[in-house]
């Protein structure tokens, strides 16, 4: 087997996998949030810091959430990052007026962290 044929084989293998990834997998990114959104009922959550992590926050299920951070939150913890089934929500909350909006969530405990992955917290949905 000459090198030319081998190289064609290598490119064919890669092309096969790439084409399968884009056309043949049959699944697409779907909205991961299944909770019911209640319009106009945004619940506010103010994050605060304890030691080098976030304090746990409790919210209600089925209502969209507005996250802000008080002055105790410092450094990279001012940029919380949430990941719900592969969809990411993150924002740098520079001042106490900045808000990160999250969709309504189902009951459960959702872990989150700062964008650097250093400080962690729990969002408990009841």
């Amino acid at each position: 087997m000459s090198n030319k044929i081998t190289l064609i084989g290598i490119f064919a293998l890669v092309a096969l996998v790439v084409s399968f990834m884009y056309f043949g997998s049959g699944s697409t990114e779907s909205a991961p949030i299944t909770g019911n959104v209640v319009a106009g009922e945004m619940q506010k959550v103010v994050l605060s810091q304890t030691d080098l992590n976030y304090k746990d926050s409790i919210v209600q299920a089925g209502k969209p959430i507005a996250i802000s951070a008080d002055s105790s939150v410092a450094g990279c913890l001012r940029a919380p990052s949430f990941n719900f089934g592969g969809k990411k929500y993150t924002k740098y909350l520079q001042s106490t007026n900045d808000v990160l909006e999250l969709p309504a969530l189902e009951k459960g405990t959702y872990t989150f962290s700062c964008t650097m992955g250093m400080g962690r917290g729990k969002l408990i949905v009841e």
Binding site: G9, V17, V18, S27, N83, R120
Partner: protein
């Protein structure tokens, strides 16, 4: 300027130019010989085939795993497909050097140190990078470190303890560096592009290493002749562990 006349200065410049000309000529000649040897009968003639066999092993493994397991996981291909593909390509990039080093068995200290350092660094960096993209800094970093050190030491010991030590150091650094790079790019929305760029640069480095080994060892006969079983087995082990980690492994809090 006080100590040498104008004539002496010209002579020095001329000699330096001659040295560079000679060096350029030597390297370009060796490189031509190397590209010719890629179709030859030495171990260099098997490098492209090694990439092919390694990639084929990864693709077959992923196809089988997809058929029996991954297709039942929601959004598995959009979420992990890219990283699994590039992990397979990264392993295919490492295998030719492993084969070349094994073929020559023993090398001089300098060459062996270069082998241990480069292969440890690149294998740790690439696998750390792609694993950390889906699992976070800890899992990606230390998976990269373990793979980098293992492959670095295994190949670096062709020259003795110095190469092995270089392998440990480079694997340790490369694994953490790869994971850190991908983890810090997570929120930049350019992670996949960064993966392609890192892979391309690593490919150039590995090709350079193939050339260096050839240049150092072209006067030496092959010490070990083997079939492609080692490539297939090693690829299978690496892609199996990587796939398990990427799809089922523990994740950092940032991934939910």
């Amino acid at each position: 300027m006080v100590f040498c006349s104008r004539l002496q200065q010209d002579e020095i410049v001329r000699r330096i130019r001659n040295v560079f000309k000679q060096l350029k000529k030597t390297i370009s000649m060796s490189f031509k010989e190397f590209t010719k040897e890629l179709n030859g009968n030495r171990v260099e003639g098997e490098l492209v085939k090694t990439i092919f066999y390694s990639l084929l092993t990864s693709v077959i493994f992923l196809a089988v795993v997809y058929f029996f397991k991954l297709r039942y996981i929601e959004n598995c291909v959009p979420k992990y497909g890219y990283y699994l593909l590039f992990s397979g390509l990264s392993i295919a990039l490492i295998m030719p050097v492993v084969r070349q080093v094994r073929a020559y068995k023993e090398m001089a200290c300098m060459s062996g140190m270069m082998v241990g350092m480069t292969i440890g660094m690149i294998s740790g960096f690439l696998l750390g990078f792609f694993t950390a993209s889906t699992n976070g800094m800890f899992i990606g970093g230390f998976f990269g470190v373990f793979v980098g050190i293992a492959i670095g030491v295994w190949n670096g010991k062709c020259c003795g303890v110095m190469g092995a030590m270089e392998g440990i150091m480079a694997g340790f650094m490369g694994g953490l560096m790869g994971a850190m790079t991908s983890f810090m790019l997570l929120n930049d929305n350019n992670l996949k592009l960064a993966g392609i760029i890192s892979f391309a640069i690593s490919a150039v480095i590995m090709f350079g290493l193939n050339f260096m080994i050839y240049k150092e060892m072209k006067e030496t006969d092959r010490q070990r002749k083997e079939d492609h079983m080692m490539t297939v087995v090693l690829t299978f082990v690496l892609i199996a562990i990587t796939t398990w980690l990427i799809v089922f492994g523990p994740r950092s809090a940032i991934f939910g």
